[in-house]
Symmetry: C2
Subunit: 337 residues, 2 copies
Amino acid sequence: MARPPTSRDLARLAGVSQATVSRVLTNNPKVNPETRARVLQVLKDANYTPNALARAMKTGRTDTIGVFMTRVTSPFHAELLDEIGRVLSSVGLHMILWNIEHDPEETIADVLHQRLVDGFLLTSATYDSKLHTMALASGTPTVLLHRGIDDLDCDQVVGDNWQGAYDAGRYLVEAGHTDIGLVTLTHTGNTSRDRDLGFRAALTDAGVKIKPSNVVSVGVPHADGHAAARKLLSKRKPPTAIYTVTDLLAFGILDGARAIGAKVPDDVWLIGFDNTELASWESFDLTSVEQPVHAIVQTGIDLLRKRIAEPDRPTEIISLPCPLVIRGSTANTPWAS
Amino acid sequence: MARPPTSRDLARLAGVSQATVSRVLTNNPKVNPETRARVLQVLKDANYTPNALARAMKTGRTDTIGVFMTRVTSPFHAELLDEIGRVLSSVGLHMILWNIEHDPEETIADVLHQRLVDGFLLTSATYDSKLHTMALASGTPTVLLHRGIDDLDCDQVVGDNWQGAYDAGRYLVEAGHTDIGLVTLTHTGNTSRDRDLGFRAALTDAGVKIKPSNVVSVGVPHADGHAAARKLLSKRKPPTAIYTVTDLLAFGILDGARAIGAKVPDDVWLIGFDNTELASWESFDLTSVEQPVHAIVQTGIDLLRKRIAEPDRPTEIISLPCPLVIRGSTANTPWAS
């Protein structure tokens, strides 16, 4: 294919400076009419396509969506990002990705006010962050995906984490477990909170108490699951089942169990949350509550496009079911089939 | 924080249409001088920051880098993407991410000509793709990261995959293995090619022949490694060691070995390539050749910034060492210490 002309080439052809070409492209009145006519003729002869910036200035649209995300190296977030990219591409939209781990909140404030994008997708809303408030205040159409904020007047598409967690708890109780471990995260967002509270509710409803010593509160990484497993499984009377709030922690728990010679599911059952692709690998063969990534992303991007087209439409908050997917880390029971 | 004014608010304040505000912002000569003055005063009173698009039109810079990537759900690519985001943020640059799996090549051609970005980072250059040729032809500064194209006149930062693979082969031979399996990919890029050829060269140099029946050519996914392991390890005389060209395939091989009851490293040694974070998890405990992600990304982004500042500087092609990281999937030997 032929190399398309740059503004430098066009300037040379028209016998003017690059700055003059820019001024013509932006309709700057400082260009004299004769020069303007000559430059426009050169642009026309060269089949010059006005660039995306010039078009965006004209239409007010960039066809680009800003995605705020965190921890793309976590298997679940990588799947979420992949799906967002796939769905945006399928409707002709580009993605600007901001990793809010790496960008301090002040620079994000700048970003929000620059109007680089037609809309925002926030995948990591937390109660202690001002990001969602800032996004809404910027006036740019915004949808919360995966993580929601209760009662926030903003379009949101989330999994029903509470119900998924409840089903996991009910499954363990119905299989006869009464001594159950819970490896949980500090509740910075609705996902970790509901995945904790829904599980506890199922046990309470069934009259099963969780011993305080069976609850371990940890950080996000694999290593934290590892340490929690060693702690729970070296008790004199270790729990017979462990539930945790992410697959990544479950992988760490499985590795921690291996490290001290405990067998899953023979010695201890294990349930994660997210149902990432890795959960289906033999190395893990993990029973997990599914986060319906495809449906969340598809629904969320549909909502965002509607919001862009019709800024004053009523807010929608959509919650999608999170089914329990049973694998080898919990033995099969009649309940499961 | 106060909601910043939109062009709609400003239009209302100035008593003009939104289109008129846009025309003032783009210096369109159709606005009469009195109206222009009134709008400019309103903008000034509102502390209105000209938006990124307007600034980009003026400076010709978008402070945004276009990243072309594939398979973000593969653990290695997720780490690469995370590092690119981290380093771009640290120097005040944004990232537009295109997943070339999802975007057909025709739409990428449009993207290249839209000048949305100041530069491109290509992480998935392959010999059969026209992407790198198109990127260079677009006149936009471009750096190939991780995957290179031999003799292409373009800045490139790659790992020395050939030497890394050679060291892995030498390590197996020096540990006494003579019956060695190779699980390899079709060579669409320099990474898979050099990871294959370097390994074969080490065995040839040591006088060790690879049986044709010990070479399995597969696709990218975990499941393909799984199938390859079952094929190699159900031979009457299975290989005593397997080397493969990515960690993802190695994880599949390990799972395939588990599925048929073969133990790593007791029955068979296993070496992967990339040294992803997962390789260090107990579930895998995988010996792997390291792809120096941090150094590749840092060096590549430095080169891209230099190229943007000085388009005519000489091309640089930089190759960084890929050290062998020894773990439990290969028993330790004196050579390793």
